[in-house]
């Protein structure tokens, strides 16, 4: 099967005061349709630069990047690439252009020259998917952060992209808003086989991905399942990553009580491991 995204020796650098500043060094990875991948790494590790390459906002300076058969190489192919790769940014206020919820989704469709009679049904469909249909006539300014972010997502969904990149899309939201957006990611991935790339600093979110790409200083340090990533303490230290609170707790408990180490990823796993310890 042909992969959806293929990076081969992907590099990105920019010139500053005559010198070349390298941001990404020789990245190699591929993603298939339907993958759910988390990208983690310290501030400045190159995560967002990578996202911007995937969306043809930046053009690779060396190596190749192929998105659904189209090579990201110049402005000519950018439009094709962007049809398939949607981006949801950190701050929904920077992404939403209209004043009413449904108008914001319509903006995307008008730009794609969708016939006007088709626009209304697509708006309804996408707003239903993100649970904002009831508020379709509301003013965006009256919405909560989580609701705004869901409108931004609806705008992206209207394009029917094969892949959506969430670039720290939950970092400004309160706990419930964060859960809402995360649930949409899961639903899109599960029910619509949309490829999801979640760039995040919240390790509790990373747990839901099938795979994690760990970045440091413009390199990919490791690519693996969340369980293996969170079990690799040496890697975590090297990449300055933390773990979910329950994982941290259980690691510390094992260390202090000389128990065999075990990596628990979420609340239920932690409860069950503790029940075994305390009950057995």
């Amino acid at each position: 099967m042909q992969s959806l995204i293929d990076a081969n020796g992907l590099c990105f650098s920019y010139a500053k005061e005559g010198a070349n500043i390298d941001i990404l060094h020789n990245l190699n990875f591929s993603l298939n349709q339907g993958d759910f991948v988390a990208i983690v790494g310290h501030n400045g590790s190159g995560k967002s630069t990578l996202a911007k390459l995937l969306n043809a906002l930046f053009i690779p300076t060396a190596g190749t990047l192929v998105v659904d058969g189209v090579c990201v190489q110049d402005g000519q192919t950018a439009f094709e690439v962007r049809k398939n790769i949607g981006m949801v940014f950190q701050n929904p206020d920077n992404q939403i252009v209209a004043t009413l919820v449904d108008e914001d989704v319509a903006f995307v469709l008008e730009n794609l020259c969708v016939p006007s009679e088709d626009i209304a049904p697509i708006i309804d469909e996408t707003l239903k998917m993100v649970g904002m249909y009831e508020l379709k006539k509301s003013a965006v300014s009256k919405l909560s952060g989580g609701q705004k972010q869901r409108v931004a997502i609806a705008g992206i969904l209207a394009m029917k992209p094969k892949c959506i990149i969430f670039d720290e899309s939950t970092s400004m939201l309160d706990p419930i808003g964060r859960k809402e957006v995360l649930n949409i990611m899961k639903k899109l991935n599960c029910e619509h086989k949309t490829t999801v790339i979640n760039i995040t600093h919240y390790m509790e979110e990373v747990v839901f991905a099938d795979r994690v790409i760990v970045m440091k200083d413009g390199n990919i340090l490791k690519e693996d399942m969340p369980r293996n990533i969170f079990a690799d303490r040496e890697l975590l230290a090297k990449a300055n990553l933390s773990v979910p609170q329950v994982t941290e707790f259980f690691n510390l408990l094992c260390d202090r009580c000389n128990l065999d180490s075990k990596t628990v990823l979420d609340i239920d796993e932690c409860v069950s491991a503790l029940s075994d310890l305390l009950g057995g």
């Binding site: 790494g41 310290h42 501030n43 400045g44 590790s45 950190q90 909560s144 952060g145 989580g146 720290e168 970092s171 400004m172 939201l173 309160d174 706990p175 419930i176 808003g177 964060r178 600093h201 390790m203 509790e204 300055n240 990553l241 933390s242 979910p244 609170q245 329950v246 941290e248 707790f249 510390l252 408990l253 202090r256 009580c257 609340i267 932690c270 409860v271 503790l274 029940s275 310890l277 305390l278 009950g279």
Partner: protein
Amino acid sequence: MPIIELKDVTYVYDGTDNLKSRAIKNVSISVEKGEYIGIIGHTGSGKSTLIQHLNCILKPTYGKVYIDGVDIWEDKKNLAKTRKKVGLVFQYPEYQLFEETVEKDIAFGPKNLGLSTQEIEKRVMKAAQMVEIDQDLLLKSPFEISGGEKRRAAIAGILAMEPEILVLDEPAAGLDPLGKEKILKIIDNFHKYEKRTVIHVTHSMEDIAKYADKILIMNDGEVVSYDSVDNTFKDVDMLQNMGLDIPQITKVLFKLRQKGFNIPSNIYTVEDAVNVVKNILIEKEKR
């Protein structure tokens, strides 16, 4: 005498007073000198509006704000004094960096206080040290340092004014885990060693449980709870109904209790949880 006292403060944001346009309603709270207060609440609950009342950015439509016993709106002269006492770190404060060098940026606040060159230099050095900004970084442009460094430089600019009260609006948002940990440590040190009052707005229940003495919960512009960490996290249902959450570890122990294990209910940090479980395991060994 409390260092901060709000009496029946209501803020109407678009001039026409109706229930909808009240961003905060009848807020009455007092904060003692040296306390570390965490403020939580869903987006749009009035947290930011509330803290902007603490240093004269917003004037209450009704009610009074007292800082150190002084009604800050009683006399225009109080404005400068209040802003000197209350340092406010906005969300994403690094967007406010503007000077040629990090050093000049940190010095901007103290300079405006009319301090001597010597005193300014001393304060810049001390603030830089507190936020772990090295000498060579001080001479760089604020636009060529990393995201975490920018955030710390911006906070140093406020610390250099040596405020009695430090107010921060989500100071760790958007930072990587290490950067976040550093910021939290800086705030904690300022509270512990400089003995200053801290007001910290956040969405992270884990952080607030670890550092705050008391938690203030805002919901739809009103104070719904202002209590110790223990009492605040007791009412899980109330918190979740307001779009909030409790620390992961608290949930784990809560579920264990539901399963019939005899575990205390007031555990919010990893350290405490490990100790509690360890003791239970030791007891079990003995039997």
